[in-house]
């Protein structure tokens, strides 16, 4: 296997107000690997993605993408935020094509149309963002990140605002897309099942300061069946890992049961 797609080495992040959001986080992602990050609220998951996306600077340690240290937003790194963050003054097609302005218009249109069909939104190109449902808007946001064909895609709870059906649907969409060009995916989620459906590895974070509590390899072969016995077994194993790594830390908030 070639060089690591993403290297996080002893990463620490202290916000200006003194909050230690991350402490000594080290993690390496192989090219094409899918890694899920789980952990309670406020344990630094979004911070981790923001540092990787070049939106925030690391306080200690270093992060690199494809061997180059991250100093700012990187063309090969895409991010899907927790909210769609569509630009309300652009229609769906222009939102998706936002990062493609350097392409000739015809090619841009073709890429946008192709990506919109990937996320199941054929014919929605001329709608305004305000005319979309929450799930449609989130799919547009995913399309906007995918259309530039990033080699690393960061997803911050991309499906958390959606109902179970749409969520399962979009998870399958994401896996289809991944199967095509095999980008490296780092996905934050609150949903154990989502982590198990999508990820090769699950990183469990714990808070104050945010650090890695456990790493869990997902052994279920792809394609994964959410109701198969192996899946159930794996789910119990991951829950056991979560219990071991989080329940025993006194004074700290356990992994919220609601998320499991």
């Amino acid at each position: 296997m070639s060089a690591a797609a993403v290297t996080i080495a002893a990463l620490g992040k202290t916000y200006p107000n003194g909050t230690r959001a991350l402490d000594a986080v080290s993690l390496t992602l192989a090219p094409g690997e899918i890694v899920a990050v789980v952990g309670g609220s406020g344990c630094g998951k979004s911070t981790l993605l923001r540092v990787l996306a070049g939106l925030d600077r690391a306080s200690d340690g270093r992060v690199s993408v494809g061997g180059t240290p991250v100093e700012g937003p990187h063309p090969a790194v895409g991010i899907v935020f927790q909210e769609p963050r569509l630009l309300p003054w652009l229609n769906v097609a222009d939102n998706v094509g936002f990062g493609l302005v350097t392409l000739p218009p015809a090619e841009r249109r073709a890429r946008v149309a192709e990506t919109l069909s990937r996320v199941g939104l054929v014919g929605y190109g001329r709608r305004w963002p305000r005319e979309l449902s929450g799930g449609q808007a989130q799919r547009v946001a995913i399309a906007r990140a995918l259309v530039t064909r990033p080699s690393v895609l960061l997803l911050d709870e991309p499906f958390s605002a959606l109902d179970a059906f749409t969520r399962a649907d979009l998870q399958d969409h994401l896996l289809d897309l991944w199967a095509e060009s095999r980008p490296t995916l780092l996905l934050v989620t609150h949903d154990i099942e989502e982590a198990l459906v999508l990820a090769d590895r699950v990183v469990v974070l714990k808070p104050r300061p945010g650090r890695i509590a456990a790493l869990h390899d997902v052994a279920v072969p792809r394609p994964r069946d959410r109701v198969s016995p192996e899946f159930e077994v794996e789910k119990r194993a991951l829950l056991a890992t979560l219990g071991r790594s989080l329940a025993r830390t006194p004074g700290e908030e356990a992994f919220p049961a609601a998320a499991i």
Partner: protein
């Protein structure tokens, strides 16, 4: 009204329906018609009262006499001359005020240092009732056009400055981050994110600036003008011609409404995307 679920039917979802404002009213009263009922009734009542001798109508002339005055004034070409003078002053003052207000507001909104340096002074100046500038402007700029236009520009400047500054300072950081993720350069960030984001508040600021421009042109023309609608007002007062005063007031109302509608119509195509009560109709 109804959001169609066919993705191809774009543009329909936001289309305003024509009968929205007139639910439950007969067709001929719909839209603008409703708003006309009260003024027309009042005018007709007054006309009748004066015609039947119930009221004198010397201090408040009946509509027919005001209309005759308007016809008179426009027939002699005088009305056009006064309107041109006034509109010209408003436009020039508005343009100067908008350019200055936009530049100052953009700088103050963009840079915290500039804001801390300049804003307290400007807020202090804003507290001065603008008419108080009149004597000073006359001393500095003379009695002719310059002082009038300066006064109008001052009136337009403040709402535009405040609107632009507040709009820039309140642009959503999350939206700006989208621009950063796509590695937009400074100018591209301004053009593709900041400008469209502030446009709705900018239009509001321009419209209130224009409104103040119309207010201030009256004050400006009170300070010794030989033409303009404000001059018609002063002239009507000095010569005891209330019909001329009311006629000038009516022209002011029409022009103010008209220029505001023009400004709104000119900017509307850029604001179709807005998610507001208005566009949801």
């Amino acid at each position: 009204m109804t959001t169609l679920d066919h993705p191809d039917e774009t543009g329909l979802a936001g289309a305003a329906s024509r009968d929205a404002g007139a639910r439950g009213l007969p067709g001929w009263l719909s839209g603008v018609g409703v708003g006309l009922v009260l003024p027309v009734a009042l005018a007709a009542g007054w006309e009748l009262a004066v015609a039947s001798g119930l009221a004198g109508g010397r201090l408040m002339p009946p509509p027919s006499r005001i209309f005759a005055t308007l016809v008179d004034l426009s027939g002699s070409g005088e009305l056009a001359r006064h309107i041109t003078a006034t509109v010209w002053r408003v436009l020039v003052g508005f343009a100067i005020g908008v350019v200055a207000g936009t530049a100052a507001g953009a700088l103050a909104g963009y840079s915290a240092i500039v804001r801390r340096l300049v804003d307290p002074t400007l807020q202090g100046l804003r507290a001065i009732p603008s008419i108080a500038w009149v004597p000073l402007f006359i001393l500095w700029l003379g009695i002719f056009e310059e002082s009038k236009i300066a006064l109008i520009a001052v009136g337009v400047f403040f709402p535009v400055y405040l609107g632009v500054m507040a709009a820039i300072a309140s642009v959503d950081r999350k939206i700006v981050e989208v621009g950063r993720v796509f590695r937009l350069s400074g100018p591209a960030l301004v053009r593709r994110i900041l400008l469209p984001a502030i446009l709705p508040s900018y239009v509001v600021a321009l419209r209130s600036g224009l409104g103040l421009g119309w207010m201030f042109v009256v004050a400006a023309e009170f300070m010794g003008a030989s033409e303009g609608l404000g001059y018609l007002l002063v002239d009507g007062q000095q010569l005891g011609k209330p019909d001329q005063i009311v006629a000038a007031i009516l022209v002011f109302a029409v022009l103010g409404k008209l220029t505001d509608a023009l400004l709104a119509a000119a900017t509307a195509p850029f604001l179709r995307w807005q998610d507001t009560v208005e566009t949801a109709r």
